[in-house]
Amino acid sequence: MIVGKYKYVGKRITRIDARPKVDGSLKYPSDLYENGMVWGRVLRAKYPHAKIRSIDTAEALRLPGVVTVLTHKDIRGINRFGIERQDQPVLAEDRVRYVGDAVALVGAETKEIAEEALDLIKVDYEPLPLLTDPRDALKDNAIKLHDGGNIVHELHFTRGDTARGFEGADVVVEHTYRMQMMDHAFLETEAGFASVDRDGVLTIQSCGQYAFRDQTQIARALNYPQEKIRMIEPYTGGAFGGKDEITVQILLALLALKTGRPCKIWFSREEHFISCTHRHPVEIRMKTAARKDGTLVAHEVWALQDGGAYATLSGPVLCLVVEHCCGPYLIPNLRVDGWAVYTNNGMSGAFRGFGATQAHVAMESQMNIIAEKLGMDPLQLRLKNAIRRGDTFGIGQEMVLAFGFDASLERALAHPVWRDREKIRRALDDGTVKNRWKRRGIGVACSIQGSGLGKGLPDYAATTIELNRDGTVNLYQGTIEIGQGSYTGITQVAAEILDLPMEKIHFIGADTGRTLDSGTTTASRVMYAAGQATLLAARNFVAKIKDVAAEKLGVTAGTLLNGDGAVRTGDGKGALTYAEIARAAKEPVRAEGVFNIPVADREFSMGLPHLYEQNILENGYFKNTGLSTYIVPSSWEAPEIETCPVEIPDETGPFGARSVAEVVTTPTAPAILNAIYDAIGVRFTELPVTPEKIIAALEKIK
């Protein structure tokens, strides 16, 4: 985006939700309460893999204050959900496949009674053998977790002839990388509130990342008419992919329909840890070959992704692992084999970076290893192989639009940290007490990631803008504000085109009853797609108000100018304010725009968690299920970040904007891995890298 050209776009503007978020007047899903509401609590599986022989709820039902205890028998629909494949039961039937499986749902007058009732439900389990090693899942004699087997998805791709590529190469490096399971650790655990009216219309205010798809999933699982389900999900207390799949929504709908009362479900932190989707643990083996001059000639990739108990988004995540396995580089001979498998290890799904992160950790490590073997500057090696506009790379992605990878590399090459890196590294070798225990390393890593869902998937957004009688406008947008600032960004786009102050634009967020379907709030697509839809809606809106004004003023619409909340004639003699136009219009002024970014700096620190965090599982059980044992870096750990934007506008984005959410989180971990190697000469290929691992490695060298 070219900053400075516009009145609202590209300006540092106070977020439209800043005040209500700070003063507490904005209600998140977990903030909703009502007198007489029913508290829902979920009984989770006792075993990571077991047959359920029977469920006895009688004693729980007898506990005073318990309103209802529901099992799969109370569900009329398919009792299944899943974004890609509906294989996960809302309430388990005859089998549980991970410790987060929901077995029964209690509704009670208080949270405490609901909690107590959970202990009174008697489930007769027969524990089954576990499948916890994803390598075992591929074996023919493995126990089958689902009728269709243990493979969620597999991908195989070949281009050229890797064997010949390796033959002619001067250097071949082969390493296996292992990336850990991670938790999104959003602030607000999964929460929602539901009620049902006399006509059977369900209203669910919930966390989520796609209100319209949640609506479909509820209707399908419970066999309830979709038109009688209204999802309201404007504000969510963080998600990062972790609320993309269904969490509380279907359970809330079920509870409200069964009790007829307002209902609340709010997962505890522990329940969140065991039940939610995580970042996929992925094992990636890469064999990469280059010529003396640095030209990459062949690349073989083997990837195995542990999806856990149910499919959710394992397939699409594997697609992104495979799609990004070459990084942003041209490699003529390529062979990729990837599998996503089922295991009893919790469940994994969408997580910021969505597979691209894991692929880049491996590829960006490979690049530095090759550079060292060739005695080349690692940035020059990258520049040598960098993809450029017009290239077809990876598994056939075409770079049709403008992008600035080579320009970014040139910029990095010229940066003082890179230019003077030897001096910066040696600055600590001064023999002083203060520095003699310190080592410094300089690392680099790159990443590429698209905006939007990618080729072949419908990916659209729609915005409606309508004029109020007081001259303000309502802006209806169906995507979700999960903290990223998109509602502010979208409002900036509208304000720019309408030339109307931000505060005169009332934002109405995700509500299936009021907004149009704008797709998911994922894949770094909101600012791009919803932003562009808003731009088109605003242009259509301006055309409409000009038509109304033209008729009233007796001029042709083409001669009118729009600005500062009014429409004026070219000579400035005639003018109508937005309020006057609203009153003059014979019918409500409303315009739609259909289509398919500017909060950037701090995102870079998001890659840090890779080096810290890990969900630790033992035989299918989570060992660290609280924020005191699952340690998330805090603002104290965030390093100083200098952002050097290379501005190459995206011709298809609103005002040339492009998304930055995910692509900038990806290179942090491999850059640090490369820096650690630079500092101490130890190459880590397994995440996280803790101080304990570094000490152990250093002891080994000694």
């Binding site: 005191s628 340690i631 805090s634 104290w636 750990e637 000490i695 152990a696 002891e699």
Partner: protein, 288 residues
């Protein structure tokens, strides 16, 4: 979740009477920062709770001659901010500062930190090198015990039925004494210590005497490092001396591997923290 009967006496006498009457059936809480978590995670299932948080009489920091007396219900926040503690036992202020979050520090008490008998309690190593004693009260009377022998293992103490810690008492540091508390956690703040080192010594003409070192999180309870202290006794500070002391303290550290860290890391870092702390208090070098 079931309801737990909670008694909240207003005086120490009342509390001691209740404790004697209820015997083992009641669990004492002060700030409840540990017990509430244990109950919520269903690791503990007490029948009843004795809530001491209203006992204002046990909430004070005062000088008693050459001694500093701290009431058992004094919070970490109060200790961390106390001018008396900062002047007379700065390492205790450092230890109280590192505990949890402001919310936890406003609830958690020094008496609770000691009674919980966790090897990772941050105030305990600091108090140990200060040579602290505890005053224990019961209906039957009062006794004074050294803090060093108070914990017998993780969560186990020599407290008798009916007894409460009412006061922590230690000699104030003299102007020629140096001290520090250094620790490492999984992140800088808001994390449980993986290893902690408390140090105090008298320093005259750069020569160290009366050296005391205590280590947290490296044994079933907080331990002293007598060999390291003996090595440093009478020596002049120098970076190489600190490094040699570090090698000794590593052998005195008896850490285990658990979810938070490894034995090797903890033992090595006990040495590193000794070097870091000594550089800070002997040479004014920070950021080591």
């Amino acid at each position: 979740m079931k309801t737990i009967e909670t008694h909240s006496p207003r005086t120490l006498e009342e509390a001691l009477a209740l404790l004697e009457m209820m015997g083992d059936g009641i669990r004492v809480i002060a700030g409840a920062t540990d017990v509430v978590v244990q109950v919520l995670e269903r690791k503990k299932d007490p029948c009843a709770l004795l809530n001491l948080s209203y006992l204002e009489e046990l909430r004070y920091i005062r000088e008693e001659g050459d001694l500093l007396a701290i009431g058992a219900l004094t919070t970490h926040r109060e200790i961390e901010r106390s001018p008396l503690v900062m002047a007379h036992a700065p390492l205790l202020a450092e230890a109280a500062f590192i505990v949890g979050s402001p919310q936890i520090k406003n609830l958690g008490t020094v008496g609770g930190n000691i009674a919980n008998a966790s090897p990772v309690a941050d105030t305990v190593p600091a108090l140990m090198v200060l040579g602290a004693t505890l005053i224990l009260r019961s209906r039957g009377g009062t006794r004074t015990v050294p803090l060093a022998g108070f914990a017998s293992g993780p969560g186990r103490t020599i407290l008798k039925p009916g007894e409460l810690i009412t006061q922590v008492l230690f000699p104030v540091l003299r102007h020629d004494e140096i001290s520090f508390y250094e620790r490492l956690g999984q992140r800088r703040l808001l994390s449980i210590s993986k290893v902690g080192v408390a140090f105090r010594a008298r320093r005259r003409d750069n020569r160290m005497t009366n050296v005391a070192i205590a280590l947290g999180a490296v044994a079933p309870r907080v331990i002293m490092a007598p060999n390291t202290a003996a090595f440093l006794e009478g020596k002049e500070y120098a970076a190489v001396v600190a490094e040699e002391a570090a090698r000794i303290v590593e052998t005195e550290s008896k850490a285990i591997t658990d979810m938070r860290s490894t034995d090797t890391y903890r033992n090595r870092m006990a040495g590193a923290l000794l070097i870091r702390g000594m550089a800070r208090v002997c040479e004014g070098i920070t950021g080591l």
